[in-house]
């Protein structure tokens, strides 16, 4: 035991000497300020993930950063900072760190609501985004539900407004926004039941507490393949192929949905916009190489993610659109605390 060691040890050096020696050593090290601009990256990079460990954003970030570390030459450490409103604490942490490229912020589309929910007062345009993966949202029902196709479900919803209980994560989540767009597009009315997260909604659909559930294919994949869920349609413009199954696109069946959809998931990370361009390019190069690597491709295929690999301007545009869409939807619902107008977020066309 350490304590016993300490206790029985006869210290030969006089304590005073030890202390002065330590102090002197510390002095030398602290005075010699050696923070010259060395080539990036010269130390470990930290990826502050704003959602909890084990979730989609976290796992994607861990896979992508692990692949990137090979191409960038240093380790990228993932830490989770999950408190705050829409991950605002992690966002603030990343924003307040030095803009030197050593801090990445692991995030997803849901972070764009941080400003209107009162988490912080910045828009998403303070960041440059790197979007790695996305998984399409799918409308599913439990295996004992009476509906077997999208058409049957839509007809039923229209005939019985407010009767069908629907789960789609928490209020203001991506899935909730998708559900609202779906409701609007088909001109029906659903009874939305909020749950603390996607998996809680799925469990509720399994136990029959709710009738339909909207979450991503990545999240439902196991339950669909086991036959516990019947997938009726994706909320993207293409059908999705899951194993031997083909999930039809709801947008192809109901073209009027195209007015509001698709609203895609976007998982990745961001750096502050004022990080030097050369540093951003180094990150982007490693990011692109990682997107091509076997690890990421295999991970995406196994877990039913689509590899996006967008960064810079293209990715920023995507996040801008999501921001205005999410913010205004929440504001119109009365769920937002801050008027998006005061933040300068434009209304979605």
């Amino acid at each position: 035991m350490l304590f016993q060691l300490l206790f029985n040890r006869e210290v030969t050096v006089k304590t005073k000497h030890l202390i002065t020696g330590l102090a002197a050593a510390a002095m030398v090290l602290t005075m010699g300020v050696a923070s010259a601009d060395e080539r990036y990256p010269s130390r470990n990079i930290t990826d502050v993930v704003t959602w909890s460990a084990g979730g989609g954003t976290d796992v994607t970030n861990r896979v992508v950063t692990a692949a990137m570390s090979k191409f960038i030459g240093t380790n990228i450490n993932v830490v989770n900072k999950t408190v705050g409103v829409s991950g605002s604490v992690g966002l603030l942490e990343g924003y307040n760190a030095k803009p030197d490229g050593y801090t990445l912020i692991g995030l997803s589309e849901s972070n764009v609501t941080a400003a209107v929910m009162g988490g912080w007062d910045k828009r998403v345009d303070v960041f440059d985004f790197f979007i790695a993966t996305s998984s399409p949202d799918v409308v599913s029902v439990g295996k004992n539900a009476p509906w077997n196709t999208m058409e049957e479900l839509v007809t039923y919803i229209k005939d019985n407004p407010g009767k069908v209980r629907a789960g789609a994560g928490g209020a203001g989540s991506l899935h909730h926004i998708n559900l609202l767009a779906f409701e609007k597009g088909i001109g029906g009315e659903l009874n939305f039941i909020p749950y603390p997260g996607s998996s809680a909604s799925q469990n509720a659909a399994l136990s029959g507490e709710i009738d339909i559930v909207v979450t991503t294919v990545a999240e439902q994949n196991q339950l669909i393949q086991s036959g516990d869920f019947k997938p009726l349609g994706t909320l993207t413009d293409r059908p999705y192929y899951l194993g031997e199954m083909t999930i039809p696109s709801a947008l192809e069946l109901y073209p009027q949905l195209k007015k509001h959809l698709p609203i895609g998931q976007a998982i990745g990370f961001a750096v502050r916009k004022d990080v030097p361009v050369e540093v951003k390019k180094t990150i982007a190069k490693a990011f692109l190489s990682a997107m091509k690597s076997d690890e990421v491709q295999k991970f995406a295929a196994e877990n039913h993610y689509e590899v996006i690999g967008e960064f810079g301007k293209v990715a920023n545009e995507r996040m801008d659109r999501l921001e205005s869409l999410f913010s205004w939807t929440l504001w119109d619902l009365g769920a937002a605390k801050v008027n998006p107008e005061t933040l300068g977020i434009p209304r979605p066309e």
Partner: protein, 510 residues
């Protein structure tokens, strides 16, 4: 049988490779340290080690992670028994009787019972994983909001009965205060901020870990230092027997069986884990014990039931994870993420494409259980020597550990402030003879009771009928009614009379 072949093959593979043995023992040991450190939990252990195992192949990584999980759940009891500062929320229940046992000079006996009970719990959990996975998963997934609510209510009701009758009202006050703490922050349904006073740090609600450390750790440190207590009776000479005394274990057979079932069952239900399992089984053990007045004063039954339930819960949590890809407890969520990193997606497809996976996991759980027992037996002997270190030297170090432990999970300095404030409040609670455990139970179960009841009412349009309409919830309702009735003296005596009469009649018939 195929299962047995794969199982023994995997075991052979683990125990014939020195590297795997080193990884197994090392991870278990690390897990125990994690569990024992105030604030560091099994959940955090699995999360932090996920990155480290990235380079390993998936089987080895699974071995390491499961060993950490098992070790982490087990390790909490060390600080709980020795210092009355539980390392994890689950082991707070162990502290209820473990610490008084240590005070009686039976720290070694408490360690021995806890270690062996944990092994038994682990083995029972493992057996359930191997044999009954699909069945249990189906039952566990029948849990709707009302069942969650009733389970939470059951746990909260226990808190009222944790203390002696004359203090019951104070127990309720502590419990209500705990539930109130849990309502702070945006509610999970409408995102309405409750009691946040405009502070954004409170929006996300209050974490269990800082409350746990604040409630148990800080006052304990303060009181020990203030009294300059040398833990009079806890000298290293009279520590009691370390080896498990099988007589006690055998006498507790019924207790062990109920606790194991409780553990597996609660573990299998998605979203809730060891902390709830330990308290519920503690409550059941106390309710069904012949000497409930001994509980809280160093009853071995208390230690045994909580440790069995804790470890059985690990196995239980694996059941929905393996059969449906739904994690059954918070550490299992991390485990799922770690497996996804290794491109192993647990669930029905994996069971079809790789039917050997379940027996393999069972074998790993078995190996981890054995490793935990061995590590535990070796460690217990050493850890007890900590008591030789003067408490005045030791407790300040624990204070620093509490701080870094509470910080590690959320990396949020606000949690430390919270811990400090809760610590001072709890200190006064203890001085005023208010029990602390109900406060912690309230914080753990409060959100579940709140959200589940309101979701349940919303889905049924305000009707409570499904609560008695569904078989599982009906059972829970009946248990709760029974508990409430047993608290009312008049009904209690009446029931006891009926029972004894029936017993006598039966005895007469033979």
């Amino acid at each position: 049988m195929n299962i047995l072949n794969v199982f023994s093959g995997m075991l052979l593979q683990i125990f014939s490779s020195p590297l795997l043995i080193v990884i197994l023992i090392g991870s278990t040991f690390l897990g125990i340290i994690f569990g024992a450190m105030p604030g560091l939990t099994a959940t955090l252990g699995v999360a932090l080690l996920t990155t480290l195992t990235y380079g390993l192949d998936s089987e080895t990584a699974l071995l390491a992670l499961l060993a950490i999980y098992v070790g982490g759940v087990y390790g909490g009891m060390y600080t709980a028994i020795l210092l009355n500062i539980p390392g994890t929320a689950a082991s707070a229940a162990t502290a209820m009787d473990g610490y008084p046992m240590a005070h009686k000079g039976q720290a070694g006996r408490a360690f021995g019972l806890a270690t062996t009970s944990s092994l038994i719990g682990s083995l029972v959990g493992m057996t359930f994983v191997a044999l009954l996975s699909p069945l249990i998963a189906q039952v566990a997934l029948q849990f709707t909001s009302y069942e969650y609510f009733l389970l939470a209510l059951f746990g909260i009701l226990i808190s009222g009965s944790l203390t002696s009758p004359e203090l019951a009202i104070k127990g309720w006050i502590a419990g209500l205060f705990g539930i109130w703490l849990s309502t702070i922050g945006q509610d999970h349904i409408q995102m309405y901020p409750r009691f946040t006073f405009g502070m954004h740090d409170l929006d996300n609600g209050i974490d269990v870990v800082p409350v746990l450390i604040g409630a148990f750790g800080i006052p304990q440190i303060m009181i020990v230092l203030e009294s300059k207590m040398k833990l009079g009776s806890m000298n290293a000479k009279s520590l009691g027997k370390l080896l498990p005394d099988f007589r006690t274990m055998f006498q507790n057979l019924r207790n062990i069986i109920t606790s194991a079932f409780t553990g597996v069952g609660i573990g299998a239900v998605p979203g809730i884990g060891e902390d709830i399992a330990a308290w519920v089984s503690y409550g059941i053990a106390r309710k069904t014990s012949k000497t409930p007045e001994e509980f809280g004063k160093g009853a071995p039954e208390g230690v045994i039931s909580t440790c069995v339930a804790n470890q059985a819960c690990v196995g239980g949590a694996m059941i929905p994870l393996l059969s449906l890809g739904i994690p059954g407890s918070p550490p299992a969520v991390m485990l799922l993420g770690a497996l996804m990193l290794h491109n192993v997606a647990p669930g029905p497809m994996l069971l079809k494409s790789n039917p050997d996976f379940v027996p393999q996991v069972t074998a790993i759980l078995f190996a981890a259980g054995i490793a935990m027992w061995i590590c535990g037996m070796i460690l217990s002997k050493q850890v007890i020597h900590i008591l030789r270190v003067p408490q005045t030297l030791f407790m300040p170090l624990i204070a620093v550990l509490c701080v870094i432990g509470s910080f590690a999970l959320g990396l949020h300095v606000f949690n430390l402030y919270l811990m400090g404030i809760i610590g001072i409040i709890s200190y006064f609670f203890i001085k005023l003879h208010l029990p602390i455990a109900p406060l912690v139970i309230g914080v753990i179960l409060g959100p579940m009771a709140d959200t589940a009841l309101r979701t349940g009412l919303k889905t049924t349009g305000g009707s409570l009928w499904p609560m008695v309409d569904r078989p599982i919830s009906l059972v829970l309702v009946l248990i709760i009614v029974a508990i409430v009735c047993s608290q009312i003296p008049f009904i209690n005596t009446a029931i006891r009379k009926i029972f004894s009469r029936v017993k006598n009649k039966l005895a007469g018939a033979y």
